[in-house]
């Protein structure tokens, strides 16, 4: 008898959630199926209208598409045009209590994209621009996926196949359900109730605010750089200002951010240096989104797989890159192998785990960063090394590239971690720190 867990012509895949993970899954599942002449039906359930401005049309994040993801997508034939990109980024400015350094891309090329996930901050609807999530959902539709603007309210097994139900619409049976629901909704309960061991990921609350400027002031103050703040504030891990068209997205990552966190951050002297009170700006919108910090252990069962933020993601960065990796890995498993728990364990779990394991190295790196921003000598030593590396074209850029890769999501944490153990880098740092230490005593 044929394996019932292998998808055949006409098999139906229901994707719950049309954020980046759901769209990536659908795009690649349909492409791969075409490659082997398999005819699959893919339905994406997504109630959000991504062309809407404000929180309603938005999946709430900083909107940085990492260097690695921009390049991988280009190789896949998914090019981010100026309709989607709000600003091309070619450098990072690292601000601390003790000074600022700039880290540039080696080729002075704009390799990072700043986008909006939805229609943009409140009141900006109707611009020429397109949302990133909307763009991907459209691509999925072009590949042949059906988009149904419904929220799924219940999932149950009937005759060993999952059936999806919505208060507002039809019942659908599926050969595979992809849970691409993110962490920001209550939908995780639907999957928890299926009792295969899935638990909503652990999260922390982050803060985002959109502040609007005059376009010229914005370009002059922020240029094509993401401004990163490593400040000795206990609750805040780090914060970023990401310039877009006429807004800068302020993204504050820490344990439990609240409305006050944004104000405290804006009042900090290092921030005020970049954004003095004399520069007129208005706050467009604010939100306090949940951020996945620990992945659930069991992300699949027969005919169900959890991907993207609903599963594991990369700690504090490049969640969209993780969405791409996982969406594609799940698609590959479903199309080329099968949809049983066993298939997912063999083919999908290693990719999922690699992200989880990599975050362990990420945690250590962030602990080290905490140390560096806490102690003046360390902060200064680090700034000295970076600015020396940046000034001298022929000097190897060890520390700069470590920080670049760490904050841009250009490299796995594990690889960065091992690079920090590199002797010349340690030596450079130690020298500068010692000098700072002696100068401090004197």
């Amino acid at each position: 008898m044929a394996d019932p867990f292998i998808l055949e012509d006409g098999s139906h895949i229901a994707v719950v959630g049309g954020g980046p993970t759901g769209s990536f899954f659908s795009i690649f599942a349909l492409r791969m199926a075409k490659m082997i002449n398999k005819n699959l039906r893919v339905t994406i359930y997504e109630p959000k209208d991504f062309s809407k401005d404000g929180p309603l049309g938005c999946n709430r994040c900083g909107g940085i598409i990492s260097e690695l993801l921009v390049q991988a997508l280009a190789v896949e034939g998914i090019n981010l045009s100026d309709r989607i990109v709000q600003r091309g980024i070619d450098s990072y400015k690292l601000h601390t209590d003790h000074g600022t350094v700039s880290i540039d891309t080696p080729t002075h090329e704009k390799r990072i994209a700043a986008v909006y996930r939805g229609g943009g901050p409140k009141g900006t609807m109707g611009q020429e621009k397109e949302s990133f999530d909307g763009f991907l959902l459209n691509l999925a539709r072009q590949e042949g996926a059906l988009h149904v603007p419904l929220k799924i309210d219940h999932i149950e097994y009937r005759n060993s196949k999952p059936v999806l139900l919505s208060r507002e619409g039809d019942v659908q049976e599926a050969d595979l359900v992809v849970g691409a629901i993110g962490v920001k909704s209550q939908t995780s309960k639907l999957f928890e109730h299926m009792r295969f061991g899935y638990r909503r990921p652990e999260t922390v609350t982050a803060a985002i605010a959109e502040i609007g400027f005059d376009r010229d002031i914005l370009s002059e103050r922020f240029g094509a750089s993401v401004h990163l703040f490593l400040l000795p504030l206990k609750e805040i891990k780090f914060a970023a200002m990401i310039p877009k068209g006429t807004y800068v997205t302020i993204c504050i990552l820490g344990k439990n951010m609240n409305v006050r966190s944004v104000n405290e951050f804006l009042d900090h002297p290092a921030v005020a240096a970049v954004l003095p009170a004399s520069v007129p700006y208005k706050i467009g919108c604010r939100c306090l989104p949940q951020m996945n910090v620990r992945a659930p252990g069991v992300p699949f069962t027969d005919r169900v797989v959890m991907c993207g933020d609903a599963g594991s993601t990369r700690l504090f960065k490049d969640g969209l890159g993780a969405a791409y990796l996982m969406g594609k890995a799940a698609a590959k498993t479903a199309v080329f192998h099968g949809v049983s728990a066993d298939h997912f364990r063999r083919e999908y779990l290693p990719v999922y785990r690699s992200i989880v394991n990599d975050n362990r190295y990420g945690k250590i790196l962030f602990q080290a960063t905490d140390l560096f921003k806490k102690y003046k000598t360390l902060t200064r030593g680090m700034l000295k090394v970076i600015s020396r590396e940046q000034e001298d074209q022929y000097r190897s850029k060890r520390l700069s590239s470590v920080l670049w890769d760490m904050f841009t999501g250009n490299e796995r944490y594990k690889n960065i971690f091992f690079r920090t153990l590199n002797f010349p880098l340690q030596h450079d740092l130690l020298c500068e720190i010692t000098k700072e230490f002696i100068a401090g005593k004197a």
């Binding site: 390049q71 034939g77 090019n79 045009s81 091309g88 090329e109 704009k110």
Partner: protein, 285 residues
């Protein structure tokens, strides 16, 4: 460059990489066009014009050899760089990322195959077209020996009549046919000896056509046996020299080889074309 664009801008004519350079990155065109050229004996040859979304420069990543061609921006062109290290790392984790590179390479190979067949066909045409070869020989002859008229006459398949395969000069009649031994050309064919005649009207062998001929050179074309004659003549009072005769005789040796080649190729041509058709059908299936 606008603030909402990715990659790097190159302006018209700016080189992205040059043939022979080391290469460790691949490129994806974001906007505009890129011309791929290759150096050849006769100058730069354009081998492809690529458009937005196309990948280029991927070969050096895989074969580690210097760039095989030059890439130049056509108009303002925006290009995104793909780093080799990162690309290979990602491919090693997700080999399907290479699908699109492979499919882009295979469509390029297909196109090259088509062009190769075209080139091969063209080459065959040049050597198989006997009349074209004769025209070409006459053209060369005209360059070395100043003459008002000229022709190449070849023995027909029956082995008995000579007919004109190529000719120039306003008074030359290309419809003329001679039997072996008949007229000056017929006689030269028979004897196999080159002749210089500066008083044609007095030559008893001369068969007058519509054209008035006063002086002529006639050399045999030989491949084992005589296959035809190469003739140059003047209608005015201009005379030929012995030097001219020697030149024409040397030329006739090469001409004979070329003509014989063309004849053999013509026989091969149909067989070869059949084979090529066969190969391309195999490739498509």
């Amino acid at each position: 460059m606008r603030e909402d664009e990715l990659g790097r801008m190159y302006s018209e004519g700016e080189q992205i990489f040059g043939e022979g350079q080391e290469g460790d990155r691949m490129y994806v065109i974001q906007a505009g066009r890129v011309k791929i050229t290759k150096k050849s004996r006769t100058g730069d040859m354009t081998i492809a014009v690529l458009e937005s979304g196309d990948i280029f420069g991927e070969m050096a990543l895989f074969d580690k050899l210097p760039r095989s061609a030059t890439a130049t921006a056509m108009g303002n062109t925006r290009v995104l760089t793909i780093d080799k290290d990162k690309l290979f790392q990602t491919i090693s984790r997700d080999p399907t990322l290479a699908f699109r590179i492979i499919s882009s390479m295979s469509s390029r190979i297909r196109r090259l195959d088509d062009e190769l067949i075209q080139v091969k066909k063209n080459k065959l045409n040049i050597c198989t077209d006997l009349d074209e070869t004769c025209e070409y020989i006459l053209e060369e002859a005209k360059n070395v020996i100043p003459a008002e008229n000229g022709s190449i006459m070849l023995l027909d398949e029956d082995g008995e009549t000579l007919s004109v395969r190529a000719a120039f000069g306003k008074e030359w009649n290309p419809k003329i046919k001679l039997r072996v031994g008949e007229g000056v050309a017929g006689d030269v064919l028979k004897t196999g000896k080159a002749e210089l005649i500066n008083s044609v009207s007095q030559d008893a062998r001369f068969k007058s056509g519509s054209a008035k001929i006063s002086s002529m050179l006639c050399v045999p074309l030989k491949w084992k046996t005589s296959i035809g004659t190469l003739n140059m003549s003047n209608s005015s009072n201009k005379l030929f020299t012995l030097e001219d005769l020697k030149m024409l005789r040397s030329l006739a040796m090469y001409a004979s080889i070329a003509i014989q080649n063309a004849k053999s190729c013509a026989q091969l041509k149909s067989t070869t074309e059949e084979m090529i058709m066969h190969v391309s059908l195999l490739d498509v299936s």
